[in-house]
């Protein structure tokens, strides 16, 4: 009986240490934070445009499977953006000159959002998530860490509407290339949305038609 208990205890300890090793995230030192932030800000400034594919996975604890959608995104500095889902349905949203244009499977709608504070925040959030430059200490409590492959910046909204719906935003940056490769939006319930960028083309040629839906 004692032997079984020992074996089980050993197994448990093994599982615990391996999971700790795999999930190992090391906090950045103050110097590392400054270096990392400067690196990201410099890289974000150098991004005049960006084209990328993405896969979005919605995790809800009560579902058997994650909900997967995918598409592509085109961004042009400072704030032109076309976020387009192509699978399993067609839906695109364009942010252009203070207006939002939606094409939901052929149903088109537009609305003026200039001067709308919530819109400005969302726009800033999306552009920030794409470029990586979201280091606004007034808006978020930010923590920095790294694992073997990525820097991880975690943003906890401090107040307002964002705080009501999002518990935390995680941005992942590959250590070799300081451009966001993954965004994770954590809800208070433990459910989350994960967006992974693929085939990123920095400063790719864009045209006005890329921002028309």
């Amino acid at each position: 009986m004692n032997r079984i208990r020992l074996i089980l205890f050993g197994l448990m300890a093994f599982l615990m240490t391996t999971s700790i090793t795999f999930a190992q995230e090391q906090k950045l030192s103050t110097t590392e934070i400054t270096q990392f932030k400067n690196g990201v800000i410099a890289q974000a400034k150098a991004i005049k445009s960006l084209k990328t594919d993405f896969v979005q996975r919605k995790h809800m604890s009560f579902l058997s499977n994650e909900i997967e959608t995918s598409g592509n995104m085109v961004f042009q500095a400072p704030n032109l953006l076309n976020w387009k889902y192509t699978k399993p349905y067609q839906y695109s949203i364009v942010f252009k000159q203070g207006k939002i244009h939606i094409n939901d499977q052929g149903n088109k709608s537009s609305f003026d959002a200039s001067g709308n504070k919530m819109f400005e925040k969302i726009n800033k959030l999306i552009v920030g998530s794409v470029s990586g430059n979201m280091f606004d200490d007034n808006e978020f409590s930010i923590s920095y860490s790294k694992n073997k492959t990525h820097y991880v910046a975690k943003f906890v909204p401090k107040s307002g509407d964002l705080k009501k719906v999002i518990a935390e935003i995680e941005l992942y940056f590959p250590i070799q290339k300081l451009v966001v490769s993954e965004v994770k939006l954590n809800e208070y319930s433990g459910d989350y949305t994960q967006i992974i960028f693929k085939n990123q083309q920095l400063n790719a040629k864009v045209s006005p038609s890329d921002f028309t839906n």
């Binding site: 919605k58 349905y89 839906y91 149903n107 709608s109 719906v165 319930s189 949305t193």
Partner: protein, 207 residues
């Protein structure tokens, strides 16, 4: 005599009232009044996630997003509305006798709106409908099921043996129509919910 006249008048009036109060499915004959049960063929598999792209028109406003339906126990379903970006807007659990709101963003927590969704999804996700009357014509069987606030008519195609429509009526008037397009047995590929006395319609397309 005036008393008798009044009584006759009341009886006639009540006959007219009740006569008008019965909804009769068009072009169908009553074939039985024996009580039986109709098992909902949809949303019954506890291992399945039913995920739909939603389009909602409410008071002239258009809302798009994702609706997820999941059976979580014998009597209860969990329903989540989310944006296309995945942000949860509304999360509730509904059964024949209960409704529990797990989460709602501001603006979606309107009492009348929630009541409407509770009623619609209760009708849609009911496990068994108690049938009091059965009507039929050459193409379909129509089952009448008494609900809390009215009557529900379930239209089953004789040829394909599937539930393709439900009509909820109140005092003989059609109030809500549910239409199902169905290429699969366990869940419809498209659901259209149309309210006839409210500016509300919802289209769900399976993804």
């Amino acid at each position: 005599m005036p008393k008798l006249a009044l009584r006759i008048l009341l009886i006639s009036l009540s006959l007219i009232f009740f006569g008008c109060g019965t909804y009769q499915p068009k072009n169908a004959e009553l074939i039985t009044t024996a009580i039986s049960e109709f098992s909902n063929p949809y949303f019954a598999d506890i291992s399945q996630d039913y995920v739909y792209k939603a389009n909602i028109e409410v008071y002239g406003r258009n809302l798009g997003g994702i609706v997820v339906i999941k059976k979580i126990d014998e009597d209860t379903h969990r329903v989540v509305f989310a944006t296309d970006f995945g942000n949860k807007l509304l999360d509730f659990e509904v059964s024949a006798s209960s409704f529990k709101l797990n989460f709602s963003v501001e603006g979606m927590d309107n009492k009348r709106f929630l009541k409407l969704l509770e009623n619609d999804f209760r009708l849609l996700l009911n496990r068994n409908y108690l049938i009091e009357k059965t009507f039929a014509n050459s193409n379909e069987n129509i089952y009448e099921s008494k609900q809390k606030r009215g009557m529900l008519y379930l239209f089953e195609s004789k040829e394909k043996k599937h539930l393709y429509q439900m009509i909820f009526t109140k005092k003989s008037k059609e109030k809500i129509t549910f239409e199902f397009r169905n290429e699969q047995e366990t869940s419809p590929t498209q659901i259209d919910i149309v309210h006839h006395s409210l500016p509300f319609r919802m289209q769900l397309m399976k993804i």
